[in-house]
C-alpha cells in the first residue's frame, strides 16, 4: 500500500514496475476467486465475501495505478449502475415471486417464480435463484459499493490540498 491509500497523480512518476506487474498479473486471479466464492453455494462463501474480494481486487488496482486510471477502468456510470443493479436483482427476485404468482405467494418465496420451478423443481429453484440472483446481486452491490466508497475516500483533490495547506 504505497503512499497510504491512493497515489496522488503527481507521484505517478515514481511508480514501481514490480508492483504494477505483479498486481496486473494477480488481478485476474483475484477476480476469478471472487466470482468463485460469490457463486459457489456448495462451500463456505457467498455474495458478501465474493463481492468484497472483487472489490479488494479493484481496490488493489486503483491503489497501484492511481485513482485516475482506476476511474478509466471502472467509470462512474458502470459503478453506479452496478450499485443499483445488484439490488435490482435481489429485490427483483423477491418482487418477481409476487408478480409471477399473481400475489399468491410471498415476497422472496423463490419457487413462486414458476418458470424456474418448472425447470429445476422446488428445491432446485431456490438453489438456482440463490446462486444466480441473490448471491450475484449481493456480490455486485457489495463490490460496487466498496469501490465507490474507496474512490470517494481516497481520491484527494488538488484544490483540497491547497485548502488544507492554507489553513
Amino acid at each position: 500500500m504505497t503512499g497510504g491509500g491512493a497515489i496522488p497523480e503527481k507521484r505517478m512518476a515514481g511508480r514501481d514496475v514490480i508492483i504494477e506487474t505483479i498486481s496486473r498479473l494477480i488481478l485476474p486471479f483475484i477476480l476469478l476467486f471472487g466470482f468463485y466464492v460469490m457463486i459457489g453455494t456448495e462451500g463456505t462463501g457467498g455474495g458478501f465475501q465474493g463481492g468484497t474480494i472483487l472489490a479488494a481486487g479493484f481496490i488493489l488496482y486503483i491503489t497501484v495505478f492511481g485513482a485516475k486510471r482506476g476511474r478509466e477502468m471502472i467509470p462512474e456510470s458502470v459503478n453506479t449502475f452496478f450499485e443499483s443493479f445488484g439490488l435490482y436483482l435481489y429485490n427483483g427476485s423477491g418482487l418477481l415471486c409476487i408478480i409471477f404468482s399473481m400475489g399468491a405467494v410471498q415476497f422472496l418465496n423463490y419457487p413462486g417464480i414458476w418458470p424456474v420451478t418448472d425447470l429445476v423443481g422446488v428445491a432446485g429453484s431456490r438453489a438456482w435463484i440463490i446462486a444466480f440472483m441473490v448471491e450475484v446481486g449481493i456480490g455486485l452491490t457489495v463490490m460496487a459499493a466498496f469501490i465507490s466508497q474507496y474512490f470517494d475516500l481516497a481520491w484527494k483533490d488538488e484544490e483540497e490540498e491547497m485548502v488544507v495547506r492554507k489553513e
Partner: protein
C-alpha cells in the same frame, strides 16, 4: 394470499426499490430524483391507508417472508399500531418532501440532489421496515438503514452539522450495538428472534437474568436512538445544524419510529406483566420520563437558536410518550396518550421545524431575538409556527391538549399524582419558551426598515407554505379529532392488538 396482505411488504420493498431507482435516474437526470420520490411516497401513502383499513376491518396481517413459518423465517406483522404509524409516516414524509423541494434547492448544491433524495427514500424505506417488521434482528437491519441515512443527511449540511453528525454516528452505533447485544441476550435465553414467538416463550424464562439484561440493553440502546432524556446529548446539535427539511423529517418521524420500537418491545415482546411484576420498572420509566419532560423544557428555555430550542422541546415531548408507556401497565389511558401523542407530536414538531426552516430559508434568521416583525413579513409561516406552538403548550382546541388530557387522566387513573403536577408544569414551561417566540414575532413593537423595496418580491414559495399550513390546520383538526369518539375503534384495536388487557 390476498393482495391486501401483501401491501405492507410491497410498501417497504418498493420503497427501497425506488431508492435505487432514484440513484440511477438521478445519475441520468438530476431533476427526476425529487419527482420519483414524491410520486412513490404518495402511492405508498395510499397503500398504507388501504393497509390500515384492511387491518381495522379484518385484523392483523401476518406475513411470512419467503413463505417460511414464523419461528423459522422472518415474519412481518401489521396490526393496528403499525398500520397507524405507517400512515403517519408517509403522510408527514409527503408534506416534508413537498416542502423540501425549494428548500433543498437553496441549502444543498445541485449535484447532491439525486443522492440526497435517494437517501431520503431509503430512510423512509428503513422506517417503514422498522414499522412493519415482526422480527427483532430484522428490526436492527432497518434501524441501521434509517440511522445511516440520518447520519449522512445531517452531515450534508456541512459546517457544524459534521461534528454533530459524527457524534450521532458514534452514539447511534453504540445504541445499535447495545440493541443487538440485548437481542443476543434474549436469543441466548429463548433461542428465537421472532417477536410473537418470543412473547410465547418469554414467560418460561421471565425469572432468568438474561432476560433482564436483554431488556436493559435494548432499552438503553433505543433510548440513545430515540434521544430519551439522560441519553439525548447527541440530539440537539444534530437537529440544529441539519438541513431544515431533514431536521423536520428526523424530528417528526425518525424519533417516533425509534420510540415505536420501544413500544413494540414493551407491549408485544416483554409484555407489561414482565415490566411490572418481574422487574418493577414501570414507575422508574415514569420518573425517567418525568425528568426528561422537565429537563428538556428547562434546557429549551435557555436556548437562543430556534431549532435548538425545538430540539430540546422534542426531548421533553418524548418524555410524554415515555410517561405514557410507563403508566400503561396501570391504566389503559397511558397507551391512548402514547398513540395520540405520536401523531400529534409528529404533526406539531413537523410544523414547527418547517416554519423555523422557512425563517432560515427566507431571512437567514435563527436567533429568536432577531424575530421581530416576522409576522408581517412572513405571515403564513409565523402563523403556522404560532398555531403549532400553541398546540405544544396544550391550549384546548389544539392537538397538544388532547395528549396532555389523556396523560393526565392516565396518571390520575394510575394514582400516580406527581406526574399530574409534572405534566401541568411542563405545559407552563412550554408556554415560557414558545410564547417568547410568539411574542417576538407578533407583539414586540418593531420599526420596519424603510427600504421596503425587495420585501414584496421575495415571498415564500407556495410549495413551502402549503405543507406548513396543512400541518398547522391539522394541529387544530386533530385537537378536535382526539376528543371525539371517532378514533375509538382504532384505539380499541390498538389496545387489543398490543394485548394490554382490555378496551376503553
Amino acid at each position: 394470499m390476498l393482495l391486501a396482505e401483501q401491501l405492507p411488504v410491497i410498501i417497504v420493498t418498493v420503497a427501497m426499490f425506488c431508492g435505487f431507482t432514484i440513484l440511477l435516474a438521478g445519475y441520468l437526470n438530476k431533476k427526476s430524483a425529487f419527482w420519483i420520490s414524491l410520486l412513490a411516497n404518495i402511492v405508498f401513502f395510499a397503500l398504507s391507508i388501504l393497509t390500515l383499513r384492511h387491518v381495522l376491518a379484518v385484523g392483523p396481517i401476518k406475513y411470512w417472508q419467503g413463505g417460511w413459518r414464523p419461528p423459522w423465517g422472518i415474519e412481518y406483522v401489521v396490526d393496528a399500531m403499525n398500520a397507524y404509524l405507517l400512515v403517519i409516516l408517509f403522510f408527514i414524509v409527503i408534506l416534508i418532501e413537498i416542502y423540501s423541494k425549494r428548500n433543498v434547492e437553496k441549502e444543498i448544491e445541485a449535484r447532491k440532489h439525486p443522492t440526497f433524495y435517494a437517501l431520503i427514500q431509503l430512510m423512509v424505506a428503513g422506517l417503514a421496515g422498522i414499522t412493519v417488521t415482526g422480527d427483532l434482528f430484522n428490526m436492527f437491519v432497518w434501524l441501521e438503514i434509517a440511522s445511516l441515512t440520518a447520519y449522512a443527511l445531517i452531515a450534508v449540511a456541512g459546517g457544524r452539522a459534521l461534528r454533530a453528525s459524527y457524534n450521532y454516528v458514534i452514539m447511534g452505533s453504540i445504541g445499535a450495538v447495545f440493541y443487538i447485544f440485548g437481542v443476543g441476550w434474549i436469543y441466548a435465553a429463548t433461542g428465537t428472534l421472532n417477536m410473537a414467538d418470543m412473547r410465547i416463550l418469554l414467560p418460561v424464562v421471565y425469572d432468568s437474568r438474561l432476560v433482564q439484561m436483554a431488556f436493559a440493553f435494548i432499552v438503553v440502546g433505543i433510548m440513545i436512538k430515540a434521544y430519551i432524556f439522560p441519553l439525548h446529548f447527541w440530539q440537539p446539535d444534530a437537529y440544529t445544524y441539519a438541513p431544515s427539511s431533514v431536521s423536520a423529517m428526523i424530528a417528526s418521524i425518525h424519533g417516533k419510529v425509534m420510540i415505536y420500537i420501544l413500544i413494540r418491545l414493551v407491549y408485544s415482546v416483554f409484555t407489561l406483566d414482565f415490566i411490572r411484576y418481574y422487574i418493577g420498572l414501570d414507575l422508574i420509566i415514569c420518573w425517567v420520563a418525568a425528568a426528561g419532560i422537565l429537563a428538556g423544557s428547562v434546557f429549551a428555555i435557555k436556548q437562543r437558536n430556534v431549532k435548538r430550542m425545538l430540539a430540546y422541546s422534542s426531548v421533553s415531548q418524548f418524555g410524554y410518550i415515555l410517561l405514557g408507556i410507563g403508566l400503561s401497565p396501570l391504566s389503559p389511558w397511558g397507551l391512548v396518550g402514547v398513540v395520540a401523542h405520536i401523531l400529534n407530536h409528529a404533526v406539531m414538531k413537523g410544523c414547527l421545524f418547517l416554519a423555523a426552516g422557512s425563517f432560515i430559508h427566507q431571512e437567514g434568521k435563527w436567533d429568536i431575538r432577531s424575530f421581530e416583525g416576522l409576522s408581517k413579513r412572513m405571515p403564513w409561516a409565523s402563523g403556522a409556527f404560532a398555531i403549532a406552538a400553541i398546540s405544544m403548550i396544550g391550549i384546548p382546541p389544539t392537538a397538544g391538549f388532547a395528549s396532555k388530557l389523556f396523560l393526565i387522566l392516565a396518571s390520575l387513573d394510575a394514582a400516580q399524582y406527581p406526574f399530574v403536577v409534572i405534566l401541568l408544569l411542563s405545559g407552563l414551561l412550554n408556554l415560557v419558551y414558545f410564547w417568547r417566540v410568539i411574542d417576538r414575532m407578533y407583539f414586540v413593537r418593531h420599526e420596519e426598515p424603510t427600504e421596503g423595496g425587495n420585501e414584496g418580491t421575495r415571498r415564500l414559495p407556495i410549495s413551502m407554505t402549503a405543507p406548513m399550513m396543512v400541518l398547522a390546520a391539522l394541529c387544530i383538526i386533530l385537537g378536535i379529532f382526539w376528543l371525539t369518539d371517532i378514533p375509538m375503534p382504532l384505539i380499541n384495536q390498538i389496545l387489543s392488538d398490543l394485548s394490554t388487557g382490555g378496551r376503553l
